[in-house]
């Protein structure tokens, strides 16, 4: 089948998509966007978290055809040009990246969380961060530095927004 959708603001058209392929497979293998990761392919680990019409989803659980005509945002689309997004910079500065396989999904989930909280004029509390990121598995960090990174990103983005 043919699939058309918008990915990171760019129109994408791919042909010969097998109906059983997931959005994750199409992004990774047909659109040259391997940033979203394939750690469990059953929606448990969050490594493939992307935006679908602005909501974070596990791309492995979205059939490719479900993305027809919709807007997809991936880790590759977070940064504008050569600059890092504040969430990306915070993960680096806090030491929240080790092997990095969970990082793309965590970045999208964090961007969503911090964006929602700041839109309400507040920073996410620790319990809220834990709740929001509970669907993103990380095997390297024990999550302490991930929490540091989210707090740091929220602080910096709140500062920028002032």
């Amino acid at each position: 089948m043919r699939l058309t959708c918008t990915v990171n603001g760019t129109e994408q058209l791919v042909d010969d998509v097998w109906e059983g392929e997931s959005l994750l497979y199409v992004l990774r293998e047909r659109m040259g966007l391997p940033g979203s990761k394939n750690a469990c392919e059953q929606g448990e680990c969050g490594s493939c978290t992307v935006y679908l019409d602005g909501l974070p989803v596990c791309a492995c659980l979205v059939a490719a055809g479900q993305a027809e005509g919709r807007e997809v945002g991936t880790v590759e689309g977070l940064a504008a040009g050569g600059e890092l997004h504040p969430v990306q910079q915070a993960f680096l500065d806090a030491g929240a990246v080790q092997c990095g396989f969970c990082t793309p999904g965590l970045l999208v989930a964090t961007d969503d969380l911090v964006g929602r909280a700041l839109a309400e004029g507040r920073r996410p509390a620790d319990a809220e961060i834990r709740e929001a990121l509970a669907g993103n598995l990380c095997r390297c960090t024990g999550y302490e530095k991930v929490l540091d990174a989210v707090r740091l990103a929220a602080d910096r983005m709140a500062e920028e927004a002032r």
Binding site: W18, G20, R28, E29, G32, L33, P34, G35, S36, K37, N38, A39, C40, E41, Q42, E44, C45, S47, T74, V75, E76, L78, A79, L84, Q88, Q89, F91, L92, G95, V97, Q98, C99, G100, F101, C102, T103, P104, L107, A127, I129, R130, E131, L133, A134, G135, N136, L137, C138, R139, C140, T141, G142, Y143, E144, K145, V146, L147
Partner: protein, 788 residues
């Protein structure tokens, strides 16, 4: 067919990163920006235009004879390019880290569920999977051997392995292997009086379940046929050269025709020490003449790598009424599963370090590794010390209770220190601040109790927002445990690393290139390599070359050894480069070499600053060095005595756990850890290792187990095999101590494993204190607490 190029999309590039940071600084990772942009290429991201996808057909049975294999139906599927079986393996049909006993593809018999039987290459992964399902394998199903002690009850009744396996050159030590039976290795440690008696005796039996490494990046790689008839393999692994030797044997090719490059690795934790898809992808690529990519899904990953050995242990501790340990006797049984993997070395560790970091005059330990038809077990972070720590620390708490002593006091009273004798007759010849680690934990403030009743925040309660308690039936426990682990390879293994370091001026800027084959698996070795080069050569711009077999072996990224051994090699190669540069500068300037040093891109001395550009011109100064730590010795086969370990790592944990004693639910409230790291080369990365190791230990204590029944894995998915989430992990307090080891580069001590060893036993101790139950099996489940 297009001509294969040797640069697949995702082939690793030279890493530079933001620059800056010497030994002791929180230097930034050179691969960090790539990782947060989604541009860092892991093994599963590799891609070539004309590549095929390879898949593996695996045995559904834990033990069976293969009567026949019919690949015809699979070959008939459109899009399929090859279907291979053991008949297509041109070289050695078996491989292994220490003992070449594992078939590349099953030969006549399968010995565990998930054993690879056949391979398929096709133009779409789903086509390959569907074709593999059409391969007709006729099995004669046999009853599996599933209990390690039962398997050892018949040491000469060899059901699991019928033929003698050759001991390869890869053997990590002079292990006493017993290929004629189900016994892989038996380590005996004998010290003092075997019949010693004591005033107070505690006996316990303990069991540890099978843990999975659960690295997030699946086993994956890309094999590309080369024009010389050889193959290029890009693969996520832990030790390129040990892979290369095994692949060469299986392919019947010399090393110069089997070239490996490290693909991006999404975590390892021991699970990538053994081969997975390496030979399979090479076979398919050589057979089809096309690049072949293989990438396991999560279910296949559970069958595609070894796990942590399940253990059954019996311990007897004897002490005086004052609390001085008199003797420890222990029998430790490790289930190695169907193939040896690194079982001999795991048995060595569990046997020699199985009584913990305590001084005991009389020791009698027997540690056995057995073949069964369970999944093969091998390396996982903590490597033999994790299992025994659950037992020896439970024993110390039981002994303290029997003596009416504080558990920390009992540990400190018997703690190993510098100069202490070990059970294997070594003398601890560097700092061993075991008591200080415990005292510092004890001095840390305890977390407050949560509000209960109407004021309770459910998120602070065991059971969380499931709303199972507002504090009723909840009791808090506090537990302590200490880790004790050898660093680097032991028992006489020639443990070395190779580093190539080049200094030149590129575009007017002094530039160092560091080339090693040491696998970066996420721990940050690439950062450490840069920090050491900057420190030794006074140059800011340090480039890390791709990790490949074009340079000599770096040894394994395991045993907490790379910062020590490859760090040592990089340091030594930098020193050799520095000596040559300073000699050149001395000849140019007439200054004595001894007065010169490298600083900030120049040769400097009192009143001299000569830019490196003037010293080097267009020349590069390059040195390649092999570096070794102090040699170790094999263990005496009858007494287990010998200088077997080059360095020890020590960490201690305090766990605070709230337990809902009515429902068996629990919440780990806080983990505190103290660890002596000798010298923190990168403090941020050191703390990251402690936090991550703590999480894996907590996971084994309360949730992680590969459930195996009748030789079959019942939970091969992240839905059913649970690892800690951010909701399961508590805040951590961490203190890093730096008591230099005079024998190690910069005084450093391997970091990665120790925190993985003590965290789980501390959690268990806390749950025991809260419940008053003995809890002798991990992971602890709610029904163990409710006794229902």
């Amino acid at each position: 067919m297009s001509t294969p190029t040797r640069s697949p999309s995702g082939a690793p590039s030279h890493l530079t990163g933001p620059g800056g940071g010497r030994v002791g600084d929180d230097a930034a990772r050179p691969d960090g920006v790539l990782k947060v942009r989604g541009e860092f290429a892991y093994g599963s991201d590799l891609w070539m235009d004309d590549m095929l996808w390879g898949v593996t057909l695996r045995s559904p049975h834990p033990y069976a004879r293969i009567r026949s294999v019919d690949v015809g139906p699979a070959l008939a599927v459109p899009g399929v390019h090859a279907v291979l079986t053991s008949d297509d393996v041109p070289g050695s049909k078996t491989y292994g880290l220490e003992l070449a006993d594992q078939p590349v593809l099953a030969v006549d018999v399968v010995r565990y569920q998930g054993e690879p039987v056949a391979l398929v290459a096709a133009d779409h992964p789903e086509t390959a999977r569907r074709a593999a399902a059409r391969i007709a394998v006729d099995y004669e199903v046999w009853e599996p051997v599933t209990d390690a002690r039962e398997a050892l009850g018949h040491p000469h009744w060899n059901r699991v392995h019928e033929t003698e396996a050759p001991v390869t050159e890869l053997s990590r030590e002079s292990a006493h292997l017993h290929p004629e039976g189900n016994l892989v290795r038996h380590v005996k440690v004998r010290k003092g009086d075997p019949d010693a008696t004591a005033d107070v005796v505690v006996v316990g039996e303990y069991e540890v379940g099978m843990q999975d490494q659960a690295f997030l990046g699946p086993e994956s790689g890309l094999a590309v046929p080369a024009e010389d008839g050889g193959v290029e393999l890009y693969v996520a692994t832990q030790w390129l050269h040990v892979d290369q030797r095994q692949i060469c044997a299986a392919l019947g090719m010399p090393p110069e025709r089997v070239r490996l490059t490290l693909a991006g690795v999404g975590g390892a934790f021991g699970g990538r020490e053994d081969l997975s898809m390496h030979v399979h992808a090479c076979l398919l690529a050589l057979h089809t003449g096309r690049p072949v990519k293989m990438s396991y899904n999560r279910e296949e990953s559970f069958f595609g790598h070894v796990h942590r050995h399940p253990a059954t242990m019996r311990y007897e501790h004897g002490a005086t009424r004052d609390g001085d340990l008199v003797y420890v006797r222990a029998q430790i049984y490790l289930d190695g599963g169907a193939y040896a993997s690194s079982t001999p070395a795991v048995v060595g560790n569990a046997g020699t370090m199985g009584i913990g970091p305590y001084v005991v005059p009389n020791v009698h330990v027997d540690c056995y590794g057995a073949y069964t038809n369970n999944p093969p077990c091998g390396a996982m972070r903590g490597f033999g010390s994790v299992q025994t720590a659950f037992a020896y620390e439970a024993q110390m708490d039981a002994l303290a209770a029997e003596l009416g002593m504080d558990p920390v006091e009992l540990r400190c009273r018997n703690a190993m220190e510098q100069g202490s004798p070990t059970p294997t007759g070594q003398v601890v010849d560097s700092p061993a601040p075991v008591a200080e680690l415990l005292r510092r934990l004890q001095a840390m403030p305890l977390p407050p109790s949560p509000a209960t009743g109407a004021d309770a925040d459910l998120r602070d309660m065991p059971g969380g927002v499931s709303n199972t308690t507002h504090g009723e039936g909840v009791r808090r426990g506090v537990g302590y445990a200490v880790a004790y682990k050898n660093v680097a390879f032991s028992e006489g293994f020639d443990d070395h690393s190779t580093a190539r370091v080049r200094l030149e001026v590129v575009g007017g800027e002094p530039t160092v290139t560091v080339h090693t084959a040491a696998a970066e698996v996420g721990q940050g070795l690439v950062t450490v390599e840069q920090q050491i080069a900057r420190t030794e050569l006074g140059v800011d711009r340090v480039v890390v070359a791709p990790k490949d077999t074009a340079v000599g072996s770096a040894g394994s990224t395991s045993a907490s050894r790379q910062t020590y051994v490859t760090g040592g090699a990089v340091k030594a190669a930098c020193e050799a480069v520095r000596a040559r540069v300073l000699e050149r500068a001395a000849a140019l300037t007439g200054w004595p070499v001894g007065d010169l040093r490298l600083f900030d891109g120049a040769v400097v001395a009192e009143g001299l600053q000569l830019p490196l550009a003037e010293v080097l011109g267009d020349d590069a100064v390059e040195e390649t060095l092999e570096w070794r730590h102090r040699p170790t010795e094999a263990l005496d086969p009858e007494t287990g005595q010998g200088f077997a370990h080059v360095q020890y790592a020590f960490a201690a944990h305090r766990a605070v756990v709230d337990v809902d004693t009515e429902l068996g639910l629990l919440k780990v409230v806080e983990m505190a850890c103290t660890q002596d790291v000798g010298k923190a080369i990168n403090p941020q990365a050191v703390v990251g290792q402690i936090q991550g190791g703590t999480a894996q230990g907590l996971g084994l204590a309360v949730m992680e187990e590969v459930l195996v029944r009748d030789g079959r894995v019942r939970n091969p998915s992240f839905t059913d095999y649970l690892i800690p989430t951010v909701l399961d992990m508590p805040p951590m307090r961490i203190e890093v101590l730096e008591y230099a080891d005079p024998h190690a580069p910069y005084g450093l001590r391997g970091v990665g494993e120790a925190p993985n060893i003590s965290s789980g036993p501390a959690v268990l101790a806390a749950i025991r204190q809260a419940t008053g139950l003995p809890l002798t099996r991990v992971p602890v489940r709610p029904e163990h607490i409710t006794r229902t």
